[in-house]
Every structure is written in C-alpha cells, then in structure tokens.
C-alpha cells in the first residue's frame, strides 16, 4: 500500500468551550479524492485551516509528504505543496484576474525579492498563468478586476490560483459553492481529471458532486469523524442520513 501524502492523527482544536475538531484522524492517498462532509459548523473548515497551518492545533499530529509539519506556519506549508481554496473567496480584489494567478505563479518560482525586472511582461509567468485561467474557463475575464467579476467567477478564480501553485495536494473548501448548475457540472468533470495531478481533500455540500467524485468519504459531526468509507457505505449509513444527508441519500 502506498504511503499517504497527508495524514492526520488525533488532531484537536478547541474554541473556548467548543471542540471544533476532536481527535480527528484521516489520510489522503495519492490519486484519490477524499471528501469531507458534515453538518454546518461541524468543523470542516477548521480542519482545513489546521492542515493549512492557519490555526495551530491544540494537539495531534499532521504529516505531509513524509514529514511532520506541526511546527510549520501557513507559508511554509504552502511552499511544501499544500494548496487550498477558501470557502469564502479570498482574493486580491484590486488585482486583475490574471495578476491574481501571476502572483501565485511567482511564488512557486520562488523569486519574490526581485526589484527590477518588470513582472507583467515576463512571459515565464504570464503564459502559465493564462493557461490556468484557460483551464477553469476564465480566460476571457483575465483583464477584469477580481472585485468586478461575479460571485461564481470568483470561485473559479480561487481554483485557478490553487492550480497555479502546482501543489502536491489540494485542500478545497466548497469549490462548488456559488457555481451555477452548469458550472458545477463542469467543475465536477474537471476535478475528476485533477486527481491524477494531485490528490484532493474535498469539503463540499453538493452531494451530486461528492457522490460522483469521491473515492472515500469521511463524515465529520461535532468535530468527530463518525464514519469513513466509500460512497455506498456512507449513503447507507443511518447516522449520516440523520445528521447530514436527510432525503439526499
């Protein structure tokens, strides 16, 4: 069995009296889409933040790429190849769509402290950035300000930025949110192909997408993983139905 790229063991985070993640253990294997579902407020985004290094876990261990990353901050983890999207789009609003991607591209190239060479005529950055916009279907918006594109388009841009980072694992926090029916369909197809590039930890409430994509699903309720298994396992699980799926099962 191949080694997990990302592996959490007994990760916990407490906010005051609330335990947002409670002894969570899960793995992300190469080539897989691992969906993380659960009621609102279950702690999914919190877990993503813990993995990305935006909040420090109270206890537990996170390994990534064969290495403990507990002590690394968000910047270092990103540089190691963890790319995440945000549940609420978090972009550079004044930048053009293209600049948003170029900035990520430049971070990957590792050369930030260059003071003289103009960046926006640097083909080694522009071309790959355009290619990513192409992939998510935003190429025709490249020159618009990120603040001026529609909500759904911003979600696509989030995706393009993550792609530009050429990560070793994706952490996607509700990428379908805000996408129209057509957009969701396209993105589903897209993610399906993406897993070959890097495995995906997918937080999503769109069950059509989750059931279509996930190799494995973990269900988080009140910070705890109450079940992990294949799509069919989870669909048939009564607890999950009650806590989360309702009639969607």
């Amino acid at each position: 069995m191949p080694e997990a790229i990302l592996s959490l063991s007994n990760v916990t985070k407490q906010f005051g009296a609330l335990r947002a993640s409670d002894n969570v253990s899960l793995d992300l294997m190469p080539g897989e889409i691992h969906a993380l579902i659960g009621p609102n407020g279950a702690g999914k985004s919190t877990l993503i933040k813990q993995i990305a290094g935006e909040i420090k876990s109270d206890s537990g261990n996170i390994r990534f790429g064969g290495r403990d990353i507990n002590e690394l901050d968000a910047v270092e983890r990103s540089r190691m190849g963890l790319a995440r999207t945000f549940q609420v789009s978090s972009l550079m609003p004044e930048f053009s769509v293209l600049q948003n991607v170029v900035l990520a591209q430049q971070s990957v190239s590792g050369k930030i402290f260059r003071f003289f060479k103009p960046v926006l005529s640097d083909a080694s950055l522009i071309e790959p950035a355009m290619a990513q916009l192409e992939r998510v279907g935003l190429a025709d918006r490249a020159q618009m300000r990120a603040a001026d594109i529609s909500h759904g388009e911003r979600r696509q841009l989030e995706m393009a930025v993550a792609l530009a980072l050429k990560p070793r694992a994706f952490l996607l926090d509700e990428p379908m949110a805000g996408m129209g029916p057509e957009g969701s369909k396209r993105l589903t197809g897209f993610l399906d192909g993406l897993r070959a590039e890097a495995p995906i930890l997918l937080v999503e409430h769109d069950m059509d997408a989750v059931f279509a994509l996930a190799d494995r699903i973990s269900v988080l309720v009140y910070g705890r993983v109450i079940a992990t298994g294949t799509v069919d396992d989870i669909r048939g699980n009564e607890d999950v139905k009650r806590a989360y799926l309702g009639e969607e099962a």
Binding site: F15, N40, Q156, G178, G180
Partner: protein
C-alpha cells in the same frame, strides 16, 4: 392578483461597463419567483437594483405602487423589501443576537420565531458572527431579513454552502413563508429545489430577461440552453 414588484426594462452600469441591458420581472402578491441564469448574467445586479444598492439608468422599478427610482436604500427596505444578500454579509463583530436586533422592526417576526425556525441560532446567540460556520452565517442572514418583517423576501443564493438537511429545512421554511402569504424572489442554483417552491421562473442572460414562464413550462431544452443543465 396584483404586482407587488414590477421591474421593467432596466439597464444598469458598474462605472462605464454595462451589466444589465433590459431586465423585466414581476413578482405578484403572495407569489414566489425564481430568478435564474448562469454565473455572471446579472442576477445579483438585478437584485441590487431592486434594493437600491445601485441605481438603474433606463426602465422602472416599482414596489407596492411606488416608483423606487428616487428612494434611498433604507426607504425601499421600509416599504417591505427584505434582502438575504449574496455572500451573507452578516455584521462580523456583532453577536448573533445583535445581528438580529439591529434589523428588527415591529411585526410577527421576532427573535423567538427566528429561533424556532433556526434553533442553531438560538444556541449561538452570543457568538460573534465572524466565528460562525458558513451555514450558521447563512441562517443568520435569513433570520436577519425576516426580522425586518418584509412583504417581499429576496434570497440571493441563500442555500449556498448549507448541509443537505439544513437546505431541506430552509426550503421547507421558505415554503412555509410562502404559504403564510409572503412574496418571494429567489436566486438559487438548484433547479430541483427551486421547482418545489417557485411559481414562475425568470431567466436572465447577459443582462436581459431571456425567458419567463411557469415552472412547468421550462423544458429540458430550455434548461440546457439557458442554464447548461
């Protein structure tokens, strides 16, 4: 049945760039209308115009027999337009309770009723909105709009990011609101769920009303053409 909201032929601009080229839309008293269209087609812009968060150039927006053209946002709201905006826009530093109380106006909706609708909000009543989970914030935004006791409730992607159970609850709640006589204008991506609530569909494409009709009239052909499903 009389028109509560009547939008006719409006155009609207962001600076120099035009976003709406002629949107027509009617919501009758007690009716639920779904506004649909692909990403970036002008749904939110239309809603902002109705709520006077931006002004239209040509055309007319009438609500409860009042021309909204000259009204500031708060006056339009006081006529009875309650908005659940895209992206929730809860007041981040205020607690759940304070978010609700800030919006409160006299009427049948009060904290207790909102708490009945969304028990989760009652549990979190003293938590700051910015630390709520996405779904909790969404509930808060709906609750807040209800606290204004509106005649027309406008929901812009109100179920985005909600768990299926909650979404079902919210649709059920919206249905109940409709039953109770509230008029509703709703934007959402899920056709399936919309069809359970809406009386009519209005589809915008590139800033123009492209199709209007009863729910049953939206054939698969049309859905594919306008919505890509």
């Amino acid at each position: 049945m009389s028109a509560l909201l009547e939008v006719s032929g409006i155009t609207a601009f962001y600076g120099a760039s035009q976003a709406l080229f002629g949107v027509d839309l009617i919501v009758n008293e007690g009716e639920a209308v779904a506004l649909m269209g692909r990403n970036g087609m002008g749904k939110t812009t239309t809603i902002k115009t109705i709520c006077r968060m931006m002004s239209h150039r040509d055309g007319e927006v009438r609500f409860a027999d009042t021309d909204l053209a000259k009204l500031p946002s708060h006056k339009a709201a006081r006529l009875g337009i309650g908005l659940v905006p895209e992206g929730r826009r809860c007041f981040a530093r205020l607690s759940v309770m304070e978010n609700l109380m800030a919006a409160a106006r006299a009427g049948e909706w009060d904290f207790d009723r909102v708490a009945d609708l969304f028990p989760r909000l009652a549990e979190r009543r003293d938590q700051k909105a910015m630390t709520l989970s996405g779904g909790e914030q969404q509930m808060l935004a709906i609750g807040r709009a209800l606290m204004t006791n509106p005649r027309l409730l406008i929901l812009d992607e109100a179920t985005e990011g909600l768990a299926p159970v909650v979404r079902q609850e919210i649709w059920a709640a919206i249905n109940r609101l409709k039953q109770s006589g509230l008029s509703i204008l709703v934007v959402d991506k899920s056709l399936k769920e919309l069809s359970g609530v809406a009386d009519r569909y209005v589809v915008v494409e590139k800033g123009v009303t492209a199709w209007t009709g009863a729910v049953g009239d939206l054939t698969d052909d049309l859905a594919d053409r306008y919505l890509g499903v």
